[in-house]
């Protein structure tokens, strides 16, 4: 029996090893090929793994890095959550990359861990989200989220010209990007006297919670004309919530981001408009700023990228196609 269990322990170690080996393969050998002499070693820490927004950003990063002869490894936690991102970041720091591109999951909780990276002599570029004190980074690149939120309200104005009640479905407070979107949307809605702004409800990035928020809100205010869901999961959940309440076609949902599910929802008519950011562009510029910093050139501390409104009308156009996010590179 003793021998048997020892064998199983050995087998476990083999499994771990095997996974490590095959994982590197399926990852395109990113890290194992890191020996290129002049190539900088870059690391990209996503806000959450497996999200079309970050995958599109990763595509931009890889493309630009390839031009510069740099290698990229990408890692992300399973949820958009600082308690999960911190250990991921610490492991990435320990692997000693030259620069880290990171989307911090909390404005304050990620401050210290990222400062640790800087203390190790690693150049930091903040992509998409930011920190309370972004000075630890050489550059912070993000969408103009306030403008994005405003664009979302403009989309609702067009879809419901007579006005009415509008609701925001946010992720969770403290994420710089979605806070700015919600603010941009709220300010624009308050400025238009035809519309009543019902405030923001938070879904904690959980589609099921977004669905229950929206179906409950529709119970209370059946005359809601527009919902702005400020990220992917909130939009998915909001669409479900509207279906639950049997209000398809009566409530306009404007989603933020344009992942494959969002595009499908737009085609199906559950979502009436999407505000697409330019994650690929954020990635490209992030790599450019990281390389500049590594070469000792001066950086732009703040870069803002734009957004596009996608509706059913412009979805098939070249503009709409370019704005949609990718599920893989």
């Amino acid at each position: 029996m003793k021998r048997k269990s020892t064998a199983i322990v050995a087998a476990l170690a083999a499994v771990a090893l095997g996974a490590a080996a095959c994982g590197s393969d399926s990852d395109g050998g990113g890290s194992s090929a890191g020996g290129a002499k002049d190539g900088y070693k870059l690391a990209f820490v996503q806000g959450v793994a497996g999200d079309a927004f970050y995958i599109t950003m990763e595509c931009g990063i890889k493309e630009e890095a390839a031009k510069e002869g740099a290698t990229v490894t990408t890692q992300g936690a399973q949820k958009f959550d600082p308690t999960l991102q911190t250990p991921v970041l610490q492991s990435v720091i320990a692997s000693k990359p030259d620069a880290i591109l990171i989307a911090p999951t909390d404005v304050s909780a990620m401050q210290q861990p990222i400062a640790q990276a800087k203390a190790q002599g690693i150049k930091i570029v903040l992509v998409d989200t930011t920190l309370n004190d972004p000075s630890v980074a050489v550059s912070a690149i993000s969408s103009d989220n306030t403008a994005g939120g405003k664009a979302a309200f403009e989309a609702i104005q067009k879809l419901a010209p007579n006005g009415g009640k509008v609701l925001g479905v946010g992720v969770q407070p403290g994420i710089s990007t979605t806070d700015a979107r919600d603010k941009g949307f709220g300010d624009a809605a308050k400025a238009d006297s035809k519309f009543t702004y019902l405030g923001v409800q938070y879904s904690q990035n959980d589609p099921a919670k977004a669905a229950s928020i929206v179906s409950a809100a529709l119970q209370k205010d059946p005359d809601i004309v527009g919902i702005f869901a400020s990220n992917l999961f909130s939009a998915q959940g909001s669409a479900t919530g509207i279906r639950q309440a049997g209000k398809q076609g009566k409530v306009n949902v404007v989603g933020f981001d344009a992942g494959p599910e969002q595009i499908k929802a737009l085609q199906d008519g559950t979502v009436q408009a999407l505000i697409a950011q330019q994650p690929g562009d954020i990635g490209v510029q992030g790599v450019q700023q990281a390389i500049k910093a590594l070469k000792g050139e001066s950086n732009e501390a703040n870069i803002q990228t734009g957004s596009t409104i996608i509706t059913k009308d412009n979805l098939t156009s070249a503009e709409g196609q370019a704005a949609a996010y990718k599920a893989s590179c």
Binding site: M1, K2, K4, S5, T6, I8, V9, A10, A11, L12, A13, V15, A16, L17, A19, A20, G23, S24, S26, D27, G29, G30, S31, S32, A49, G50, T73, Q75, G76, A77, Q78, K79, D81, P82, T83, L84, T86, P87, V88, Q90, S91, V92, I93, A94, S95, K96, D106, S108, A109, Q111, Q112, Q116, Q120, Q172, P173, G174, Y202, Q204, N205
Partner: protein, 360 residues
């Protein structure tokens, strides 16, 4: 009546080297070997980065809060119970401590001390509630703590309106959360180690620990032997709650945030660590030392996988496989051991002596 004779706890003092005591020692050893092998593999794959001071420091820091929760969870699981509420109690205590520290004002040690008392009191209150409901109301622990998981998080959200609080005093963040006690030894890890040592002593060297094993092995036998089972169960759950409250303060120092949305997987991760560490979910068997090793394994795996560039989703698969495989191996050995010692099976003496040897 024969009942008095059937279960004398004194028997634990004797029966020095049963087969099980050796097996138990082996169990902790095997998990340790698994950990060492894992570390060796990753060190071989990434010799220049894995076994560095910075990386070890990171791994230890990331395990520290789990270890504090793990000590309490080990006690609860040894009694045959479970505590799903630790993550929510952690959040709740962090929220209460944060509010009270803000009301008290200041950024120094005095404020931290006030926060500590608040966090411990909040954790203890939830633990006592869990304990009373389990021991006196006879509601199954899974249900009780599932209820408090939900309720404690709900109260935390009511107090904060769902917004994470971020007002941790500077001392808590700079000296405890991210500070070093000497050189590069993180304070949070030392604090956690002290809790672990207290846990080990309490479990393996005191009457409190002995009763904990006794209840988990055979509550009725314990009762007949004179253990006040209900009262002891309440104490065990209260202890777990107290530690969750303490972890709440550490969490506040480490993340500078009450992490309201971030602790939903914490109880499951801690339970996984306890199970990998050789504590039986049926109760009666287990060690705090094993739990700590069991908590290190998933964190080391995650760290190593990230450094070797494994796709993130593989990490979950392997951690899940390791959990089931380790518990399966453990089960095989126990089954064999039970067959081997079938003729004399006094549950109390078996676990009591096993635990003594297993603690080293």
């Amino acid at each position: 009546m024969s009942t008095i004779k059937t279960a004398p706890p004194v028997a634990t003092e004797d029966a020095p080297t049963s087969r099980l005591s050796r097996v138990s020692r082996l169990q902790a050893l095997q998990i340790l070997i698994l950990l060492v092998v894992t570390i060796a593999v990753f060190t071989a794959l990434r010799p220049d980065t894995f076994l560095t001071g910075f990386n070890i420091r990171g791994i230890v820091q990331n395990t520290a809060i789990y270890a504090v929760l793990g000590v309490g969870m080990t006690f609860v699981i040894i009694t045959g119970g479970i505590d799903l509420s630790v993550g929510s109690v952690l959040v709740f205590s962090g929220v209460v401590a944060d509010k009270i520290m803000v009301a008290y004002g200041g950024q120094g040690w005095g404020t931290v001390l006030v926060g500590l008392v608040a966090a411990l009191a909040s954790g203890l209150a939830w633990g006592l509630l869990n304990g009373v409901l389990v021991a006196k109301a006879k509601v199954p622990p899974l249900v009780v703590t599932l209820g408090s998981l939900s309720a404690a998080l709900g109260f935390a959200q009511i107090i904060t309106k769902g917004l994470d609080l971020r007002d941790a005093p500077k001392t808590l963040v700079d000296d405890i959360g991210f500070g070093n006690i000497v050189g590069q030894v993180p304070t949070i890890a030392v604090i956690s180690a002290v809790v672990v040592i207290i846990g080990i002593v309490l479990l393996h060297r005191t009457r409190f620990g002995l009763y904990t094993y006794a209840i988990g092995s055979n509550a009725e036998a314990g009762r007949r032997a004179g253990v006040k089972v209900d009262r002891h169960l309440i104490k065990v759950y209260a202890f777990a709650g107290l530690l969750a409250g303490f972890a709440g303060l550490l969490n506040l120092g480490f993340f500078q945030s009450t992490t309201i949305g971030g602790q939903s997987n914490t109880p499951l991760n801690v339970i996984a660590g306890v199970a990998i560490g050789g504590t039986s979910l049926f109760g009666g068997i287990g060690s705090v030392f094993g739990t700590v090793i069991g908590l290190f394994i998933p964190i080391v795996l995650q760290n190593g996988f990230i450094q070797t560039g494994v796709q993130p989703f593989w990490q979950q698969v392997v951690v899940g496989a390791v959990l089931v495989a380790v518990v399966y191996v453990d089960q095989l050995r126990r089954a064999a051991a039970v067959r081997g010692t079938k003729t004399r099976l006094p549950f109390l003496s078996r676990t009591g002596s096993a635990s003594r040897k297993g603690s080293a």
